[in-house]
């Protein structure tokens, strides 16, 4: 076979997605990094150049002011911690609810499984904005839930749920639950059931063999599911904006306000850089896990 032709074909098929993703996914991070060292300016675009030519010398002025600013104002630290806390608790809730769901689907009849999977998958394709909006109508003080609880006489006056952290938890768990169930199912359905039978024959009780066999075997599914929920949840904007209240501090919302309301692009960039620095370890963990899955290795 013509080797050079094979190689040029291969180069093309690797090159096109590589160049696209490098240009539109990787390179932009370096620009964010660069602009996080610039100063805000009343100009178009609204930041100063950090690289300049003066007297035939290339000058690079790195301005650490934005990062110092992030440490000075407690709002930012609180927002990072708030995001991590909300994302962590939501991830655990998703795991607690999602694991039994995935387990039940994986052990259901084959024809039932495809239908159940469709039911889980459908919402992941459905406008997250609209699903969050649906909760606004349910949770508001004159919303459906309060009307119902008042109607059956369980409460005397409407509960304040919308615009609190509780609503944010509900929103995140609701939106990300399918992303927990799907990788868990993909893992659980591959388990060799004879292991469980063997354990039962040897006298292990169901719960014991569940903890000792099923859970350890599903480690990769748990990691994938948790990362798929945790990482995007840290940077979530729509849910805290629509369901959260003024006291809900999440970094995605702060970044958005910094960018769109204050038009301070350098500070928004610095916020993004710090967020990425926090998330880089989970992202690498997820990528490793995913690379194994994509290549079909166990």
């Amino acid at each position: 076979m013509n080797r050079s032709r094979l190689n040029s074909g291969r180069r093309l098929v690797i090159g096109v997605p590589f160049v696209w993703l490098f240009l539109f996914f990787m390179l932009p991070f370096f620009i964010v990094l660069k602009i996080s060292f610039a100063e805000a300016d009343v100009a178009i675009p609204p930041y100063t150049e950090i690289v300049s030519y003066a007297e035939q010398q290339l000058q690079v002025v790195l301005n650490l002011g934005n990062y110092l600013f992030l440490t000075e104002d407690e709002l930012y630290l609180a927002a990072y911690l708030g995001s991590l806390k909300i994302a962590l608790i939501s991830t655990l809730l998703c795991l607690l609810i999602g694991y039994p769901m995935a387990y039940a689907i994986a052990r259901a009849r084959k024809d039932l499984q495809t239908v159940l999977l469709l039911l889980i998958m459908m919402p992941t394709w459905t406008a997250i904005l609209i699903r969050v909006y649906a909760w606004m109508g349910i949770l508001s003080s004159n919303g459906i839930l309060n009307e119902f609880l008042l109607g059956i006489g369980l409460i005397d006056q409407p509960l304040r749920i919308l615009n609190t952290d509780v609503a944010v938890y509900i929103g995140i768990v609701y939106s990300y639950l399918p992303f927990m169930v799907l990788p868990l199912y993909a893992n659980l359905v591959k388990h060799d059931l004879s292991l469980l039978e063997a354990a039962a024959d040897l006298g292990a009780r169901n719960l014991a063999s569940f903890w000792k066999i099923t859970v350890p075997l599903s480690k990769n599914g748990i990691i994938a599911g948790c990362m798929l929920v945790f990482i995007p949840a840290v940077g979530e904007f729509v849910i805290p904006e629509l369901l959260g209240g003024p006291e809900t501090l999440m970094i995605g919302k702060v970044l958005w306000q910094e960018f769109f309301n204050n038009r301070d692009w350098p500070v928004a960039s610095a916020l993004a850089v710090v967020m990425l620095a926090i998330l880089i370890v989970p992202i690498i963990l997820f990528n490793r896990n995913q690379a194994k899955a994509l290549e079909g290795k166990p």
Binding site: F25, I31, L118
Partner: protein
Amino acid sequence: MRRPSFSTLILVLGLVFIYLPMVLLVIYSFNASRLVTVWGGWSVKWYVGLLDNSQLMGAVARSLEIAFYTAIAATALGTMAAFVLTRIPRFRGRTFFGGLVTAPLVMPEVITGLSLLLLFVAMAQLIGWPAQRGLTTIWIAHTTFCASYVAVVVSARLRELDLSIEEAAMDLGARPWKVFVLITIPMIAPSLMAGAMMSFALSLDDLVLASFVSGPGATTLPMEIFSAVRLGVKPEINAVASLILLAVSLFTFLAWYFTRRADKRRSRAMQQALEEAGEAGLDKPLVAPPAHS
């Protein structure tokens, strides 16, 4: 009758949790009362009113256009990436390539959105393109993250495929691209379809990326809805939201149906081939049955 297990109970409750809010949203979109939570009888007036809202209709048209082109580009790009990851075992930078393909799946949208915008601004300064942000820049943003979803869906299918058919064609002298177009593509067609529909739905849905990289006059449907929703629940929005739910559900169902039908047809053909092989008196089937998914 067996007592339903704990996990089945959670599954049922979980599905109710997932679907009840959407069902309520659709029901209340038919509410005649302007007060959103007070039931005033059935009515379709909010739906009829939508047609007169030209601003909203313009946004719908823009969103559909972006979603259409995103679906095409993301499917092409994602399929190439999936092919590289499943068929080219060794090349320099492979791990890095894999990371580039999967990272967009989890990257918070505010980061991707901000970084893409800054890229476009820098490019406009440097090479004068894009002179104005709008549909094209949104399309680029959507294509980038949808391609990752397509790569995941398609690579799952590529991995299941029986390599021996592709190898046989190669042995008979077919060029790699010919094998890909004539043999691989038809075999993975359902997952390409599913990937395209998924990209369409994801693009139609995106608010954050579009808000960052959009320009004057390029307001998409989610941006339009978001600015209205910020002010509270409104019956008109209930109607729009219900229509989007309906459209996306239809798309998902079709994607699922195509994949399933193709799977069924393939396993039936395989079954038939095995039976014929058996009747012909062959001890062993010529083709090994595929590992059942």
